[in-house]
Symmetry: C2
Subunit: 428 residues, 2 copies
Amino acid sequence: MDILIKNATIITCNAQNEVLKGDILIKSGKIARIAENIELPVYEASSVKIIEGKNLIALPGLINAHTHCGQTVLRSFADDMPLYEWLFEKIFPAEEKLTKEIIYFSSLLGIAEMLKSGTTMFYDMYFHEDMTAKAVQATGIKAVLSRGLQTDEKESLRLDETRELIYNYSSDRIKVFFGPHSIYTCSYELLEKVAQLAQEFKTGVMIHLSESENEVNTCYERYDMSPVKLCNQAGLFDTVCIAAHCVYVDDEDIEIMAEKDVSCVYNPTSNLKLGNGFAPVYSMISSGVNVAVGTDSAASNNNLNMLEEMHIASLLEKGVYRLPDILNAQQILKMATANAAMAAGINNTGVIQEGFCADIVLLKADDINMLPCYNPVSNVVYSGNPSNVYATIVDGQILYMDGKLSTVDEEALVKEIKSIEKYLKKGI
Amino acid sequence: MDILIKNATIITCNAQNEVLKGDILIKSGKIARIAENIELPVYEASSVKIIEGKNLIALPGLINAHTHCGQTVLRSFADDMPLYEWLFEKIFPAEEKLTKEIIYFSSLLGIAEMLKSGTTMFYDMYFHEDMTAKAVQATGIKAVLSRGLQTDEKESLRLDETRELIYNYSSDRIKVFFGPHSIYTCSYELLEKVAQLAQEFKTGVMIHLSESENEVNTCYERYDMSPVKLCNQAGLFDTVCIAAHCVYVDDEDIEIMAEKDVSCVYNPTSNLKLGNGFAPVYSMISSGVNVAVGTDSAASNNNLNMLEEMHIASLLEKGVYRLPDILNAQQILKMATANAAMAAGINNTGVIQEGFCADIVLLKADDINMLPCYNPVSNVVYSGNPSNVYATIVDGQILYMDGKLSTVDEEALVKEIKSIEKYLKKGI
């Protein structure tokens, strides 16, 4: 059904950062028109759903540019631990127990949480990624998916799985990227191979890059260069490349990233939780690097709430640089919408603009914590929380409205997750 | 009406950090009993409200240990600006326009937001503080209030207002403290006077302390000692003293604070937003300083959501110290409950314990973003958001439940705030 949103405050995230007051007409999943007082011809009126937007803020759907949906079932499984203990004693043994079915429900859980907090697209890397793809198909959200790759006896099997993902799931709503996990889990030869394959399949790459000091030190010991330089040399930057984290990048790294159009995904919560530190996002942006925002997984966050992530993302840079005027609300919102789409080479979402996909979030502007409103963008980024989300719309489909998910049976999902919780608790 | 909460997961925040499964019986505003399967005698059953808690987490009501409720109407009024410009060009001129009536509605707005996000008590400093006191009375929340003091021609008038606050508003739910704004806005003589008055009135003191590098430098220039030492010398630490911020405290300062039982209020969001930096909270705690958590005002945050503040509080220390295992979820929750009560010398709230006030928050444990739940404390602190708050209970009174505030007419409040917004926009 087509939709007409009336009299909303529209944060466009377009090139001029326009904030408008007006109507949005959605037809066949696209933004057909943005104007004041759109009148529908009588013969159309009955087939269009009208949403009164007087007390709503419309913004482009948020894009969670780095997560691992299959890990959502590990929320609160292991917290407040040093990285090594967390990973090797808790997360890895638990992951051994994650079946295809569990990954499906874990993905569904993550997607449900994202839809309820205003996210319309996410970028993901994990195993049994076909199950995440099925959850994306079932819910109607959008995603860029990758099967995590690493070098061991199953290396070629994982590459095969990536190819299958591309053949079986690529669509208007799903893009498949190659997902070399990191420079410390992939051989140099694998990185080179991935670079070639990505070009061959005309797709992109996502990788964890310069996340920890340890990673960078190891890279210098092994290759006598930084992880960024290594990836560049392997050819990974000759295709669309999304680099998650980038906590330990130096000026030369940043210069290479800017020159080669590599996008960084800033994951402030995860970097803090695991004690990795602060990414020099302001320096990257100042040097022309495109930066998006991600929550990372529920195991290292522990939520997939992009509204909170945007707030933390802005605060942290202001604090680290001691510059309160950097990374303002509009910049951060753009990093979580238009710039995130750009990071994956997607140019029909992330902006409220005629002709673009109707990927739109509606927030309740009259909620107590959103008032007063001298600046709607500030209120969204700094004051908003999931209780303010009224509707999440993807390709013109209302996937969440007024507390209800339209494509997820929440009650059944809660039951499944509780039984998975019981199973994962055993013997660990 | 008395209340019986059945079968809840109870995070007690008691000395043993017990997490129980069971019932809580609330009688005459107090926690009368905590046990499994509490049976009510027939003659009592009809006068007790039963809350089925199978899918609820009960925790002590959150305590927002530093805010300025009168500033809530300045949410999003001025963001992304350097401190000086923010304060002198935006906030101060706007404050000139804040009438008694505006402060009342601003306080009501802040209190409504806090109740909806699980806060049952807050510590406040501002002007027209009698209006904040009236809003506290009207809503049923608890507060420690102070009239902000500084040295100028109105100094003694403000002291008189503090005395009036003490006489007119002190109660079981309201404590009045003396509120010297800071060492840079108060003369040394005023600090000494306040120290004497606080002792005379058998009450405490709250002050902004070592918030910025500039404050510390100025203090050394003027007094040749740190702000902490200055306050100690003036006698402020000889009474209950709550010091907000403490971003720039050195080892000697911390030693003094520990020895004199001065509590710090950690305001991570505000410190980051204004570019002040990171408070060494882990060092303070390790040295035995009691630390609480606060949001600061909506003008410098921009929300009063203690669930988010706890998350940021934990993350930031982990990141700054590069130690993922410090400030765990239980410690942070305690800082926002039991330790915050202790900071103000209040010993009947902040813990779910028999005999204590029934200041309790109920969170929905089965919400999508709260599942799975291997650790309820982690889920509250790291995953919870206001959409998960089911009820906020103060002194056994249900002030918020299932989306509805019982003591605030939300619709009327929204109208008032919108008209205040219009008025404040004019001419600035």
